[in-house]
Amino acid sequence: MNFRPSAILDELVDRWLSKVAVLVAVYVTFRGHNAPGGGFAGGLVVGGVFVLQFLTGREPHIRHRPIRRPTLLLGFGLLVALVTTVIPLVVDASPLESHIWKLNVPFIGEVKVVSSMFFDLGVFFVVVAVVLMVLLSLGARGESLVGDDGVGAS
């Protein structure tokens, strides 16, 4: 990628918007049980940050950061969601059935934790991973993702 970085946008996106957006994404993801939001919407918000980074003319940070292989993230997210789906079978309930815990957290008070939250988190990771894969294969250097996973060698 030989785009010339645009300084102002770069600064804004990277310094400010990214962090705010991640916070928003976390909020959106966790409110998802009873209100509009959830893992899918939260994942899209984070994905939006990566798209913005890409649009500022640079490769998204992912290549140098922990998530260099979005397929791993995809698999991890899928696994989290599916394990949440399957676990009820072990305790003789139907798949996807959710369990509610009420926890007393000091200073905050009672917090309701629903087991389907983990499903939502899985979806969150899947969505982020898919956005990253789209960016990497269609956006930045297509061959880097392809080479990484050994597809399309012929």
Partner: protein, 498 residues
């Protein structure tokens, strides 16, 4: 029961996730094989249960009541289809591992293959139309990837047609489901029959046609078949074996559901005509081609015609024959494509002009081809004969003389084109193998280079022969399945009361 019904779908999906996490090829192979074994084991258990008393088994996801939950339903038809489909998918996986084709060694093959298996299982178990649509999407998305995984020019070209046509199919199906929901307020298959019955005739017919068009594209019936012989031959053999053996059959399965449960016996004349035209057009294509894979692809279409014809005739005998036909086609078609895969891997081509003398090189390979080929053509004592015989008898009883005459003629030409493959590829001068020793023209030893592929093909062919051996009890089973299909009320009450 909940676990047995849901694991055939969830097991492969978990395997897909694990395969994305672990990239070592051998680990992926082990994960895929293990999960498909578990899924097939569950399918066996479901089948044994349903064989016993024939009651409809229901599982609901998420602990929601009635039509709010994602419902998985297994009656006799679903149970037997699930069993055969998962067995076929497992055997093809073993074959693909043995084939070591470039696509199987990609780190995406196994996850995608698992997702497709899950989609197939879900489509067969879906208890509501929307769930069925989701299952179709799952298996279609996976099939797009599998079809174009090697990324050759030819694959991309054919893949484009395939993707466009199937997206169109999905769109039609989605519109149909939307309209059904708008008209009836439900998509649950146990609630639809009585709600659909209350609708005015015009609305019913249009909903019916929408669903038939969507499933018809999937099943490749006339005139919506043209994408199939174009795209299937470009895929690697293990992939086209699954596509040929299963994906079109799932379209037929859905047509059976539509015709028996949702719109019992309606538009049957149209379906009879479509079935006959599908037979004829498929066999014309098969007779006129010179490449093994293309011939076999056209045979898929003509055989689909038989099933659709049987479905159109309606009644206990015809539906039983259709179900028998459907079940027996899966191993027959799959194993023929698997044999083709061995041939083209060994000879570097499956064009009838370039391949010859295979029977001299390997009599066993010849047997592996001949048994399913004769069954496909409908010769006794193979199960294909029983399927066609019962279909013809049902047709005669229902006085569809023209259709029966055409069906028998098409059957004859099926034999002709199988003989064409036999004469060109298996007789004549033996040619050296393109793998292994250069002097491998020796009388034996072709299969020696392809042990795993040969074993899984052989298991499938043995399955076909076994179907002939247990034809009596099995025919009783499909007759019971037909009775169950023809009595939608029992399905409805079983799903509701569970």
């Amino acid at each position: 029961m909940t676990a047995l019904l849901t694991l055939p779908v969830l097991g492969p999906l978990v395997a897909a996730a694990l395969c994305l996490v672990f990239r070592r090829l051998n680990v992926q192979r082990a994960i895929s094989f293990a999960s498909l074994t578990v899924a097939a084991g569950c399918a066996v258990a479901v089948f044994v249960n349903v064989w016993g008393d024939g009651e409809v088994r229901v599982a609901r996801m998420g602990g929601w009541p009635g039509s709010f939950a994602i419902t998985f339903v297994a009656d006799r038809l679903s149970a037997v289809m699930l069993l055969v489909a998962l067995a076929a998918v497992t055997l093809v996986l073993i074959y693909a591992i043995g084939q070591r084709a470039p696509d199987e060694r990609s780190s995406f093959y196994h996850p995608v293959y698992m997702v497709m298996s899950a989609g197939i299982a879900q489509a067969l178990l879906a208890g509501d139309l929307f769930n069925l649509f989701v299952a179709f999407e799952i298996l279609l998305m996976a099939s797009y990837v599998l079809l174009t995984l090697e990324g050759t020019n030819e694959q991309i070209r054919a893949g484009t047609t395939y993707v466009v046509l199937n997206i169109l199919e999905s769109l039609v199906l989605l519109v149909a489901i939307g309209l059904v929901f708008a008209a009836t307020g439900t998509v649950n298959m146990a609630e639809l029959p009585e709600r659909l019955a209350e609708l005015p005739d015009g609305v019913r017919t249009s909903l019916h046609l929408f669903l038939l068009i969507a499933f018809g594209i999937k099943a490749a019936v006339f005139p919506l078949f043209f994408w199939l012989p174009d795209s299937y031959p470009t895929a690697p053999s293990s992939v086209s074996a699954v596509f040929a053996g299963l994906l079109t059959k799932i379209g037929v399965y859905c047509m059976i559901r539509t015709q028996t449960l949702l719109f019992p016996g309606e538009a049957s004349d149209l379906i009879v005509v479509v079935g006959i035209l599908t037979m004829v057009i498929g066999i014309i294509g098969a007779v006129s081609h010179q490449n093994m894979k293309r011939i076999l692809s056209f045979h898929i279409i003509s055989q689909i015609g038989y099933m659709v014809f049987g479905l159109g005739i309606g009644g206990e005998a015809a539906i039983a024959a259709t179900v028998f036909f459907l079940v027996h086609q899966i191993p027959v078609k799959t194993s023929l494509f698997l044999v083709e895969g061995i041939v083209s891997r060994d000879q570097g081509s499956s064009s009838l002009k370039e391949v010859s003398g295979l029977a001299r090189r390997s009599p066993w390979l010849a047997v592996l081809f001949l048994l399913p080929a004769l069954s496909l053509a409908g010769l006794p004592p193979f199960p294909g004969f029983l399927a066609k015989f019962s279909l013809v008898r049902a047709g005669l009883d229902a006085e569809h003389y023209v259709g029966v005459a055409i069906a028998i003629t098409v059957s004859l030409f099926t034999l002709v084109s199988m003989v064409k493959i036999w004469v060109a590829a298996f007789w004549g001068e033996a040619k050296p193998s393109s793998v292994g020793q250069p002097d491998a023209v020796a009388t034996v030893g072709l299969l020696r280079h392809h042990r795993l592929m040969a074993t899984s093909t052989a298991v499938m062919v043995v399955g076909i022969v076994m179907l002939a051996v247990v034809a009596g009890p099995f025919f009783q089973f499909v007759t019971d399945a037909a009775l169950q299909l023809l009595d939608p009320a029992s399905y409805v009450s079983a799903v509701r009361s569970s």
